[in-house]
Amino acid sequence: MSNSINLITPQKEGLERRQRTVKILRIISISFLLATFLLSLILFIISSRLSISDIKKQENSASDSLGLVHNKFAKLILVKDRMDNIQIIIKQRKNYQNLINSILKVVPQDSSINSLGIEKDKITLIVSSPSLLSINKFLDDIVTFSKNKKVINNVIINSLTVDQGLGRYILSVGGDIPQ
């Protein structure tokens, strides 16, 4: 039996291919048509829903109403401004009372503070005592403050002298006040 017999003529084959191509083209064109129609419809719906002029009308009306109470509006802004600034000031300002009280607590009973100076976050202290042991204890406590970075930082002993007339040791120390 011969296998080379071809009942479909080449002309018929070409016609079938052509019909297939036309079919595909038609499907694509219909898809394009539908997509264009749908997109146009969606755009129309979206654009009809956008109503900026309406919003602007409402804005103008609200703005007019606010214009009538502008005085109150200004007062509210001023209150907010004062409050914000006051909050910053209270947060930032130094509480030197606590610092001085903390130092007073560590001054031994037989000792006294001759002078205390605070300027630009620096503190200087002059303490006098009849006992060198008390001076030593005071210094220890101040150094502990410095180590804990509380009250005073970077303690420096400026001088330690003896007033023989009064019979007292006079210690001068300085340091930084922590920020």
Partner: protein, 239 residues
């Protein structure tokens, strides 16, 4: 090499007859493509920008409505009293009377007597000294009291209006000299910008306001409390 191509009606008719099945779908695809490029794409772009504009306008409207709501629900007299208290705490200009009242009241409460005090107003043409970014009016004050009196005075002063800060302290066992900086700040310009979002009074730090109001009520001077005011006041500069 020039090759002449003759296209006559006959040729066109033949070509059409041969490819007429393709003509309609290709034509439709072409027209759809043109519509997409010429009409739909620009429309999409304009819609996007319009939608952004709408969002912006809506947020503006929301701010305006919120502002209107806040203003209508705010009690005017309460607003006035709040602004008054806060302006005492942080005056819009140099409040000499308030400062002298605060000093004498603090001295009275802490049981110290005042020595000389001196305002350092400085050159009026120049900017006032600033402490932590705020304009201040400095005053140098002598107190007849040692460290205990000084701490008590400072404690009272920290709870008195107008708000102040300590610039420097020099104290011995009997006398103290302190430099105080009293804060003040001018009011900001309030334009007609309705779209500036307001905050309701109940949301502006009510606890801080209570604290300041309590300081103000403590500081209300009653006749006869002004003991330190008899101290001699000297001014370093004319004001």
């Amino acid at each position: 090499m020039n090759k002449k191509v003759n296209i006559d009606l006959n040729t066109i008719t033949t070509l059409y007859q041969r490819y007429k099945d393709y003509a309609l779908p290709v034509g439709v695809i072409f027209v759809c493509f043109i519509i997409f490029v010429v009409l739909i794409l620009p429309q999409v772009q304009s819609l996007l920008s319009a939608s952004q504009e709408e969002k912006l306008e809506l947020s503006k409207l929301s701010v305006l409505k919120n502002n209107l709501n806040i203003i209508t629900t705010t009690n005017d007299s309460f607003l006035d009293s709040e602004l008054n208290v806060l302006s005492q705490a942080l005056p819009p200009n140099k409040d000499f009377t308030g400062i002298l009242d605060a000093i004498s009241l603090s001295a009275n409460k802490s049981g110290v007597s005042l020595g000389q005090f001196e305002f350092t107003v400085g050159d009026l043409s120049k900017v006032s000294p600033q402490v932590r970014g705020f304009t201040t009016l400095e005053i140098i004050l002598s107190i007849n009291g040692g460290i205990t009196g000084l701490t008590s005075f400072l404690d009272q002063l920290s709870k008195t209006l107008p708000l102040s800060d300590v610039v420097s302290i020099q104290t011995t066992d009997k006398f103290s000299t302190i430099t105080l900086a009293f804060y003040y700040k001018s009011f900001p310009p309030v334009g007609s910008g309705d779209t500036f979002p307001l905050v309701g009074l109940q949301n502006i730090n009510p606890s801080l306001f209570k604290q300041i109001a309590s300081w103000q009520s403590q500081g209300a001077l009653t006749p006869g409390t002004n003991s330190g005011a008899s101290s001699s006041a000297s001014k370093s500069s004319s004001f």
